[in-house]
Amino acid sequence: MSQRTVVIASRVGLHARPASLFAQAVAASGAQVTIGKQGEPSMDGSSILMVMALGIGHGEEVVLESEDDDVLDQLVTLLETDLDAE
């Protein structure tokens, strides 16, 4: 199991469109990915409801976990982008 720590770049946090893009990317990858705040229980990354319920704000740090390093790297890139600006 690999881990990545990433700071959310989207100005609105991991809500709305950014949350939806993230959940879609996880689902499309086919890999099992969890997401959570440091030290808190992690959630299924492909569930937009769970991801939104985490209530992750702009500039907050999250931990991603998966067996698939390539998928993790892609997701880190995604979260480091201001998805709301695009």
């Binding site: 809500h15 939806s20 209530g55």
Partner: protein, 566 residues
């Protein structure tokens, strides 16, 4: 379903009107309280999961044809319907023997509780969750999709009420108007309809009896919904639509004011500060017809210095670029006393030392102001017109013109607000380059009526025949001498009066910037000849009320309708 031209009365939002077919919004499905536990839980679970998938697929299909903002909402809602956590939790509850719809409602509610607790953005998404829930429940029950139906032709949306999500999902290209039975004129449906410019009637009692395909006419100005409208009703709707479209264009328009046949009338703004001038940057006015400078002086314990004044004037001139600006020198006294100049103990301050008359004992005040204006003009490359208020005699006009030209002002004028000046306008125009009529004060002095006395407001009417006579006399002197005569009082903002003034050969109208679009629109719909006829008709009337009625009778019906002139 209905007798022709039966009318439902409600509360209108806006002024729009439209007619077309009804599209009713379907109510949310109800989960029966006594929903049985299915005999075959596995089959029931499959059916619920299929309903989730179908709803998600439907939302995605809808998103494809929608605008970007709505597509985002629909895609996110589709993603919720397909959510693996949601599906798994619902499935587990059904496996444990819960009735399927209760299970799915319980799971969605648990997310709704979480979102509501989080507050802010997430709490607002609860509406999306609930609309997704209603869709899945309806799908499971084999009912048509709740909410706004997909529109295959332009239609008027009829509903008990619309949720914000329903309103957000509206396909605006196909929505002609909105009729709701509940809600209120300040509710969210009304607000959104207002923003979108959709004709809307709320609290339309009886609207729930309408069915898909009924033809109705919606008149927001009168708050009515007409069932099966006849040709005359439809025609009235079309007239209003065309008129409002034209008015909208006129509001967007930035072209110079002119009559239908191209006779130019400058449309100008009244301002009081440099900030006002800066706000005019995008306003469709040709310049400033009245820059009241007293604001600079009011509240000050001592007169502002030439430097201070020059800075403010320069800022205003720069903001206006090359546009025309008419600056009025200090108009203090009467209702605008100044600590450092106003004489105490005047019994009738409106008839006392005010306006240009201050020069009698405080000449330096005016000289300093004129120097400041001239300096600001030089610094900014502007060419302001400068006029003095409260001129009653030719000598006063002559004295002011001499002082202003000495300071370096090129275009010098005076206000005509005292009947004496109006009656001798020809002689006054011999001394100055232009005059501007202040109709508020002109009415006050003509009718011997204190402007501040609300109980006499009928006497202050600019439609009073004697006031119109003085305006006409001043305008005629302008024609005779070939010099501009403007109007910068409240009356210029009245579209009917604006037509009359144009007919009397007034060359510019100055008003609050927000009044300009309606006046521009009214002007553009009448020829100079009609304006002249309006002027003649009004001037023959013996009373103010008859003068206005005579003018109104000649105003184009479409303009009357659009501007609600009565």
């Amino acid at each position: 379903m209905s007798t022709q031209n039966a009318v439902l009365q409600g509360v209108g939002v806006g002024r729009g009107a439209v007619w077309g077919p009804v599209a009713t919004v379907r109510p949310a499905p109800v989960v029966p309280a006594d929903e049985p536990v299915p005999a075959d839980p596995a089959a029931a679970k499959e059916k619920v999961l299929a309903a989730f998938s179908d709803v998600a697929a439907g939302l995605r299909a809808q998103a494809e044809g929608a605008s970007a903002t709505i597509a985002d909402v629909l895609t996110a809602t589709a993603l919720m319907a397909d959510d693996p956590a949601l599906r798994a939790q619902t499935g587990q509850r059904i496996d444990k023997g819960e009735p399927p719809l209760h299970a799915l409602v319980a799971v969605i509610d648990s997310f709704a509780v979480m979102f509501t607790a989080a507050g802010g953005y997430l709490a607002e998404r609860v509406t999306d969750l609930n609309s997704m829930r209603d869709r899945v429940v309806a799908r499971y029950q084999g009912l048509p999709e709740p909410g706004v139906p997909p529109l295959d032709r332009p239609a008027i949306i009829v509903a008990p009420d619309l949720s914000p999500a329903d309103t957000a999902a509206l396909d605006l290209e196909k929505v002609l108007g909105i009729v709701i039975e509940q809600g209120g004129p300040t509710g969210h449906t009304a607000i959104i309809a207002g923003q979108l410019g959709l004709p809307c009637v709320v609290r339309a009692t009886g609207a729930s009896s309408l069915v898909d395909g009924d033809i109705i006419a919606v008149d927001a100005a009168n708050g009515t919904v007409t069932l099966d409208p006849d040709d005359a009703t439809k025609a009235a709707v079309e007239t209003r639509r065309a008129g409002l479209a034209t008015l909208a264009e006129a509001t967007e328009a930035t072209e110079d004011g002119a009559t239908a046949d191209g006779h130019r009338v400058a449309l100008l703004a009244n301002i009081g500060t440099a900030e006002d001038a800066e706000r005019l940057t995008d306003a469709a006015v040709e310049g400033v017809g009245l820059f009241r400078t007293e604001v600079l002086f009011l509240g000050a314990a001592t007169a502002p210095t030439e430097d201070d004044q020059a800075r403010v004037y320069a800022r205003a001139f720069s903001a206006l670029g090359g546009r025309k600006v008419v600056l009025r020198t200090l108009d203090a006294g009467a209702d605008k006393p100044l600590a450092f100049v106003t004489q105490a103990g005047e019994e009738n301050p409106a008839l006392g030392v005010r306006g240009f008359r201050l020069v009698r004992h405080a000449e330096e005040l005016l000289r300093t102001q004129l120097e400041a204006v001239a300096r600001a003009a030089k610094e900014t490359g502007g060419t302001p017109w400068v006029m003095a208020p409260m001129i009653a005699t030719v000598e006063e006009a002559r004295q002011f013109a001499a002082m202003a030209r000495e300071a370096g002002i090129q275009t010098v004028g005076v206000m005509v607000e005292v009947p004496a000046a109006a009656l001798r306008a020809r002689d006054i125009l011999a001394e100055v380059d232009f005059v501007s009529l202040g109709t508020n004060d002109l009415a006050q002095y003509t009718m011997a009526t204190d402007r501040l006395l609300g109980s006499l407001v009928d006497l202050l009417d600019a439609w009073q025949p004697a006031v119109l006579d003085l305006v006409a006399a001043t305008a005629a002197a302008g024609v005779e001498t070939g010099k501009p005569v403007g109007v910068c009082g409240e009356s210029a903002a009245d579209p009917i009066m604006a037509l009359l003034l144009t007919g009397l050969s007034i060359t510019s109208l100055s008003m609050s910037p927000s009044a300009v679009p309606a006046v521009r629109f009214a002007l553009s719909k009448h020829s100079l000849e009609t304006c002249r006829a309006i002027g003649e008709a009004a001037r023959q009337a013996p009373t103010a009320a008859e003068a206005r009625a005579a003018a109104l009778a000649l105003v184009d019906p479409q303009v009357r309708e659009v501007l609600a002139l009565g």
